[in-house]
Symmetry: C2
Subunit: 805 residues, 2 copies
């Protein structure tokens, strides 16, 4: 860790731009602006070495000019900061569609050509640079996975700041410069992200420097922040914990000077904060006031001021393409040429088409370049987690008495995660919306406090600025921080209520897309997986009621990239431990792990759990009556998920006792994607394996944790999928008992046992008795519910003790 | 509309509580606190008329005590405000699990017993009241659908303020008192909701009074806001546009006095703002500074101060149940009894168990009661929209030349919506994240401006405080405002990018659950449906790339309640108009409408579209070769969604031309849920109808808009579902051309035509030629992509002109 010293007043003065430096910096900015506009408009003649003609213009004009000059300005000044101070900087570009600006800059500094040699630093390369932009087969118009130096997709807006904070945690040497657009600033997730500062410990974490680009317009509307009086903005950011450095205007030299001074001031203050916090024997006790910059510049600054007599610069009309119809409108074509030539490309690029040397010298070198920083390619920084043998936390399950041990399934996981914290003190964090302890992961808190950078209070329990358990009542922050944390090369887990995981579902989708894209780019090294633990699940939110009962994230993740998406439903604690161990070692995956926190029956020894997890599904011959795999069973019972597995086992028990001659095979599946054919998902069961579990033709009664049709969609393409009869969550929720939950949704043992004899399609002695017993039990349950729920008597705790009575 | 006058100084003084009033008000509060605690703990002996014993205590203690005393305090003071001023008030309780507080108050005021006569205003009713709370078969522990006076489910946190603003729009007489918990205040959606004030026009809208209950703790952690210095909080809310009235302390009398004064002041200021804004010939030109209240009181105030020597009151330990293990711990039982008796139930309730008359007189009467306000039961206020015949906006489609007209599908919808605005000037709004015009709904702006309550700026285009087109760059605000707007009895539509609709997916789920629950409660009148238009869809975001390509909201909605969830995929503009007309008339549904904004071929006349929409799916005999419905076709081609329909039609055209003897039936489905069996969804095709479309056994090649397996899950349970071969979005996205998008995902006409002849399972003359033609075309496309995308030549606009060439 570096311990930066403060700048003296003399250093501050010395650091200011002199006239020569200012001129060069502006020219560097001109070059970036030029290439930005060129990418939007041109498909040839990239340096205007001949008069611009119709055929030089792309047939479809796309891309967002409006935000780009400001993004370019920030980039140029960050370059200077890096050169001047050696500061490690990661640039997060929130204004999503300012892609051409970031591409232009990474091209100017050389990283783009190093990564994509075809886009070389000459006229041919420039031609490809402009052609590829927002063109079929080319690159998206927004900052995206192919953009060097980025961990942040500029498509779905709202996550710039949360990603920035995630990247800064545990990276003490890093400054994340996060440009926030005033459009994006309207989203809920972005507004909620400012509070990252209350979780950022200057002693051990890096810094985030928010730069709000207040260009006042979105695509069609003024922005809310753009129209607020300056005083209200100062209040707002003071409330968020920031002191605003204002840079405003449309005079190029003045704005550059002012931004330079603001950036120097901000950086100095950040270094002061860090220096103070990092003094030996010093403890951080409250959140410092961090600097931020508001950069108020005209939208589409330096672009066409008016078009056809209508004001464009500084208005929403500059948001995307300020000059339209250029191919067919000679006046617009002429105006475009004037605009492009105003940057002086002939001065900026040499005869070979390369940025002139005196400007190229303004960029940092090597991995100090913003486009080349390893922070933006986290895989290259990733150290594997130190993981002990997870069996140390395994529950002792006696194979002779399976299901007799009852234990909170997630509690041993908490102990495992505590070990991970112990052994990886700066590269692992767990994120949770205020529910670590209630989700039985409290063992973590024996190792580290909850994090809050605020004065200590004796009323608190294990809360401190040094805490590394991240609890904040925002699924967006938990998910986004973890994304930023893993994309910059560290490991973690997001543990949350199953139903409310949907709050950040769109972020899971976008992250999955990112990983899918990244895996196609050789230069992007694999990053630690995004691990999401869904606990407090629908079946055991009987007490909280319907709004807390929703397994929908499974349905969200199922259709996503098979190269990335993984869904695990461990049936008990040991299998959860084995899966967690696997997920924490994995790379480039999104691992959804569904396991309830309440007390559940435990079935598998540690070794069995490991084998079960590795196979993804197994026959549990101890639970069925049919042991010879070569013989077709009369019916297969399959459990997927903890509660359904319990009901499946209870149903099998009923069948054994009432219809002993029925050949019943019991299967458990914990890797949901394994149901897909192996040509559709790398985890898909091979056809022989699928057959070994389910046969080719026997009917299968499935008890499933989520919406039942999620299983049907996965089974399409398997042999005779219509023989699978799935019972899962059917959106029948309320405030009730756990057992009533499974009855309401047709997933109870009594439903499953009846289905089993129905679909066994054979009548064996005892079938009638079984059916009548099941119907009897359900009738009694119904009567009990009708009678007692009305009158609300003492609640009987409902448990399964190896079979019903 | 009322035009309230300001309070004079004398009125303000006179309105202050005198000692008698204060004592009574505190006793009313005591009664509510008593009933709150009683609901959490008791199952019998509700008035402690005998010593408390073990068997009086519920076996499982649930519910959130911590937030409840503050909720009760607010309720008691709002009662007084209503009685004193006649103000219409809607109470939105953000602190989710404070359910017992709201139930207690609606019981005390009488509405609860009117709605649920079994919970009568006597000892028997009190017994039921306490027994039902958070008990199997009873009511949830949080504010929920059964709670009188609520439009807001307290389960998933974050939406209190956005619902409040949605309720206030176009309700000039309404004051929405929105209690925000400092836990909920950490969520992104809540933080993003403060800006509602910049869209609230005091001349025509009601008011929102945010009351932040700063009790400083969540379930296990301090809250971020709870730990901020007061100065930072003042800054924060000043930044959000509010002036904070602080009420702080733990002295009961002082806090009540201070809250009374703050509420009077807030109400007076609100009336002043409204009076000023509503003066004749006056225009609102900027957002006023609205009042809000910060109520800082101890968590679990008046509850057990210490338990077992550990501080509880004012800490996270008071969040849920402050005294645990009461049945088995005699000391805790005694402490509970002391606590409960501290409220003096024997003074508060009369011999019959009824609130004593002098306290009962504090509640408003009739529909002025907070639990009885019609604003919280919007269905009773709902007027049907005035809707003209949508055919006025229908496109002229010539049945002899179907597919020859090319038109932006959503543009006529914009014209229809403009009419709805014209004819329903105070009961209809469209909400959109800054994309109305770009989504081709710009006709709306000929009728009304975009709304922003900020000073006018000549650079803006049709933006004003009087505008009623709601554009804000936040899916959460759009969705949440619409929820609040419809739940209070008005109509609307949320139009958004398909991919980014996932941002607010969890809100759609929770709203669907709300409607499902509400439909079971006779007293809740049906409310206007929630209409969500997904446009800018995956297939036509070829230019924006992968992050903009995601049809996942379909998968989110498919498993939800069949009584509520509807998914429409109109294939062209006229069918979109017909569906929109239907949805705008409907009640209690969540209508997902998927239709792209770009130029598409148009197929159906207005009458045909109407009939097609009503049936949900039809045979398009003009597109196939098989016209006799009694004869089995060789293969069925089915299109679902605009782009897939285009490809299906093109494939049919290929088949007609190359294999004319093949009997091809073309089907179009626009009501996705109709694929479900009719016993599973009210829209499900009957078996004869399903057979008439798809036969019982012929193979069906389906082109589907979304993830293909969504169709497979719906088809499970239909005859021979494995004969359906679905091509849809397979998460193969990038920056490319529209046609390349369908090729990448195997949905192109060439893929579909080959599938058709493969699954026709019969060889007819021309089959080989067709297959070789298709493979040829795909090879050429592949070569084109490989060659040209690399070199990025001029993009050829790709269109279909009635068939390929």
């Amino acid at each position: 860790m570096k311990f930066p010293g403060p700048l003296s007043g003399r250093e501050l003065d010395e650091s200011a731009l002199n006239e020569t430096e200012l001129g060069r910096l502006i020219d560097y900015w001109n070059a970036a602006n030029y290439l930005t506009a060129a990418q939007i408009y041109l498909m040839d003649n990239p340096l205007l070495r001949r008069p611009l003609c119709r055929d030089d213009i792309k047939p479809r004009l796309l891309g967002h000019w409006g935000t780009s000059p400001a993004l370019n300005l920030v980039y140029a000044h960050l370059n200077r900061l890096v050169r001047r101070t050696g500061q490690d900087v990661l640039y997060v570009a929130g204004p999503g569609h300012g892609g051409p600006a970031l591409v232009a800059n990474t091209y100017l500094e050389g990283t783009y050509s190093e990564i994509y040699p075809g886009v070389s630093r000459d006229v041919a390369g420039l031609t490809r640079l402009v052609r590829q932009f927002s063109t079929p087969g080319g690159i998206p118009s927004h900052v995206s996975v192919p953009t060097p130096g980025s961990i942040h997709e500029g498509g779905e807006l709202g996550y710039a700041l949360v990603h920035a904070f995630g990247a800064a945690f545990d990276h003490p040497d890093l400054l994340v410069a996060a440009v926030v657009g005033d459009g994006e600033a309207e989203t809920g997730p972005l507004e909620g992200s400012w509070k990252g500062v209350d979780f950022l410990n200057p002693a051990r974490d890096g810094a985030v420097l928010p730069i709000l680009n207040l260009n006042e317009y979105k695509i069609a509307n003024p922005t809310v922040l753009g129209r607020l009086p300056r005083e209200r903005l100062n209040h707002l950011f003071a409330g968020h914990g920031y002191d605003v450095l204002w840079v405003e205007g449309d005079d190029v030299r003045e704005v550059h000077r002012a931004f330079d001074a603001a950036l120097t001031t901000a950086h100095t203050r950040i270094r002061d904060i860090q220096r103070t916090a990092r003094q030996p024997n010093r403890t951080v006790t409250e959140a410092p006031i961090w600097p931020m910059i508001v950069l108020r510049t005209p939208k589409g600054w330096t672009g066409p001021h008016e078009v056809d007599g209508v004001l464009v610069e500084g208005t929403f009309r500059a948001h995307q393409v300020p000059l339209a119809g250029v191919r067919d409108n000679p006046e617009h074509l002429a105006q475009l040429e004037t605009w492009l030539r105003s940057y002086g490309p002939e001065r900026l690029f040499d005869a070979d088409g390369r940025l002139v040397a005196e400007l190229a010298a303004l960029a940092p070198e090597g991995s100090a370049r913003l486009g080349a920083t390893s922070y933006a390619n986290g895989g290259v920084r990733t150290e594997p987690l130190r993981l002990r043998d997870w069996r140390a936390h395994a529950l002792e399950v006696d194979p002779a008495r399976r299901g007799s041990l009852v234990h909170e399934t997630t509690r041993p996981l908490g102990e495992l995660l505590a070990d991970v914290y112990r052994d990886n003190p700066t590269t692992f964090r767990v994120f949770s919306p205020d529910e670590l302890a209630s989700n039985r992961l409290g063992a973590i808190l024996d190792v580290t406090d909850r994090c809050l950078v605020a004065p200590a209070d004796p009323r608190d329990d294990r809360v401190s600025p040094d805490g590394r358990a991240m609890e904040v009542l925002s699924e967006h922050l938990c998910e986004g921080w973890l994304e930023g944390y893993t994309l910059t090369g560290r490991h973690g887990l997001f543990a949350t209520y199953e139903a409310f995981a949907m709050v950040s579902a769109s972020m899971v989708i976008q992250h999955t897309k990112w990983l899918q894209e990244a895996s196609r780019l050789e230069w992007r090294a694999p990053v630690p997986s995004l691990n999401v633990l869904l606990t407090s699940t629908c079946w055991r939110n009987d007490h909280n009621g319907f709004s807390h009962q929703g397994p929908g994230l499974i349905d969200t993740v199922v259709p996503l990239s098979p190269g990335v998406a993984r869904i695990w439903l461990p049936p008990d604690a040991n299998s959860l431990l084995s899966v967690a161990d696997h997920c924490l070692r994995s790379r480039d995956h999104v691992n959804l792990i569904v396991a309830d926190k309440q007390r559940h029956l435990q079935y598998l020894t540690a070794d069995e759990a490991d084998e079960h997890a590795a196979r993804g599904g197994s026959v549990w011959d101890w639970a069925g009556t049919e042991t010879d795999l070569d013989r077709e069973p009369d019916v297969v019972l399959a459990g997927i998920g903890d509660v359904p597995t319990l009901e499946i086992l209870a149903a099998a028990d009923l069948l054994r006792r009432y219809v002993p001659s029925l050949a019943v095979r019991v299967v458990n599946v914990m890797d949901l994607m394994a149901l897909l054919r192996s040509d559709l998902h790398p985890h898909g069961f091979s056809t022989p394996m699928f057959r070994a579990l389910f046969t080719d033709s026997t009917d299968v009664v499935v008890g499933f944790h989520g919406y039942s049709r999620a299983v049907h969609q996965l089974l399409h393409g398997r042999a005779n999928p219509q023989r699978f009869h799935v019972r899962g969550f059917t959106e029948q929720g309320t405030t009730t008992t756990p057992f009533d939950m499974v009855v309401r949704n047709g997933l109870s043992r009594y439903h499953l046992a009846q289905l089993a004899v129905e679909f066994a399609r054979t009548t064996r002695p005892g079938t009638d008795r079984l059916v009548s017993h099941c119907q009897d039990q359900l009738t009694r349950h119904h009567a009990y519910v009708t009678e007692h729920f009305e009158d609300l008597p003492e609640i009987r705790e409902w448990t399964w003790s190896g079979g019903d009575t």
